[in-house]
């Protein structure tokens, strides 16, 4: 395996880990809100969250490219903060991937929260647990299987990202060139052996982590 392959592999793992961690932080309160809100506009938010599942990655990538560009809302914000613009940078890739993998993290956690009986949270309240305490001591442990599913899906889905990366990240070695792009380059250059090597690694990695998930026979699946 060439140093370029290793760089791409390392970049991909770093991206997937960072995006998964960010999504757990962002997705947990969003999932809790979706699981408990009675608001009329809840379906709108749910549909928005689910969009990346069905939207062509090039469409999502295109809008993100525009939004993060110098004239887009995200771009305006990052420029105001003195961070420049995000497209064609690792940071841009992270932001795009967060949107891209959002439903794969939010949905399992939301389902797990929704199946926790409200009665248990009430019982905790009568046992002197305040709202945050109830969330931490009852809701989180009972939703643990949902969190495992969310982590694995979020990680695996980000690992396989291609279209969105090409749109917002381009193909910069060590910065935005992830494994899927590297494989594409190998194939373009008719380096089938190298493409085989990386593909096999991605296949093996994805299969193994999904196996971990399904071997536990969890009820929370997408």
């Amino acid at each position: 395996m060439s140093p370029a392959d290793l760089t791409a592999l390392w970049l991909t793992l770093k991206l997937a880990a960072l995006v998964t961690a960010l999504l757990l932080v962002i997705g947990t309160p969003l999932a809790w809100w979706l699981a408990h809100t009675q608001r009329r506009f809840k379906p709108v938010i749910e549909a928005l969250v689910a969009l990346p599942i069905v939207l062509p990655p090039s469409v999502l990538g295109f809008y993100l490219l525009v939004a993060m560009g110098p004239h887009g809302p995200i771009g305006a914000l990052t420029q105001a903060l003195g961070l420049g613009t995000l497209p064609f940078s690792f940071a841009g890739l992270v932001v795009a991937s967060v949107f891209y993998s959002l439903p794969f993290v939010v949905q399992p956690i939301q389902q797990a929260f929704a199946t926790i009986p409200v009665g248990l949270l009430e019982a905790a309240a009568t046992l002197r647990a305040g709202p945050w305490d109830r969330f931490r001591s009852v809701a989180l442990p009972l939703a643990a299987p949902g969190f495992l599913t969310a982590t694995i899906f979020g990680f695996a889905h980000t690992l396989g990202e291609f279209g969105v990366v090409l749109m917002v990240g381009g193909n910069i070695a060590g910065e935005t060139r992830v494994v899927s792009v590297q494989i594409y380059d190998h194939v373009e250059a008719l380096e089938y052996g190298a493409a085989h090597g990386l593909s096999l690694i991605l296949l093996g990695l994805s299969f193994s982590i999904l196996l971990v998930l399904y071997a536990r026979r969890l009820p929370w699946r997408l």
Binding site: G130, D133, P141, L142
Partner: protein, 352 residues
Amino acid sequence: MTLRASFRHAYPGFALAADLTLPMHGVSALFGPSGSGKTTLLRLMAGLERAADGSLALGATVWQDATRFVPAHQRPIGFVFQDARLFPHLSVRQNLAYGQRRAGAGGAIEAMAERLGITHLLARKPDRLSGGEAQRVAIARALLTEPRILLMDEPLAALDAARKAEILPYLERLHAEANIPILYVSHSFDEVARLADHLVLLDSGQVVAAGSLVELTTRLDLPLAHRAEAEAIINAQVVAHDAAFHLTCVDFSGEKLWLSLHEAPIGSFVRVRVRARDVSLTLAPQTGTSILNILPATLTDLGGESDSQVMIGLDVGGTRLLSRVTRKSVSLLGLVSGRRVFAQIKGVAIVE
């Protein structure tokens, strides 16, 4: 000290408008048909629901009024739900410790487990418990927070007869030890008759009557005295056992009643029930009758029941009894208020 509650709230299907004052000792029962608002009232007291217009105070401590609402987790209450609601991810011991630790309560988990007969279950997870065991754990869990009042929402309703029989003795002991007031919601009069001292009758979200169990069960203006099983509940003391004839004698208001031999020791207090249909009236004391219990009584009031039946209220040395007789008998014997009669009691049973 008393618990004073007043709630007004419109719910889908019914409106709650309840004012009540409860004594802070013994067992008070909220009793009424399904949908009468019993559970809602209990949840409002626990702070699990909030009435648009409500006030609630335990002695001088205000839990809710026009400006304040103390959330459930800051109220020193214990709550036992119909379904035990144990935390499935925690062992029985961890369930018991959950509230105790948060309430900063002392008390030993082992001693409480001993009291409720769950010592052998401490290491188990809730999914390995029977319904009766789970409910005993839930009761222990609530008591370990050392609450100032224990609220119980039909704690036996989800259990079969055998499981009920398994838990009732624990509840009775809780009642006897009486170191904590209990507010008990039930739609089963048998449970209420066994456990309650004080009774609040609810119907359609309103308090119909409140008072002692003994008084309310025999008040002719209330539905309890007009059930097919209408009865008087009497607090009595065991004074003698007759081993030869297998009988037990109990004393109330200076009068004695004989009933089938019971294991309750001499000197202990028991509740006996006397059904209205088991009490007949005579104007003079009868001799040559098989009936053992004949008590002098004064007729206090009459309440029509049907075209043929009349319910009669009696006073026996300050204790009330009911007698269900025919309208024809009332007419033939000239039964009117103030009339001195003799009550012949065919059946007496200890409530259990």
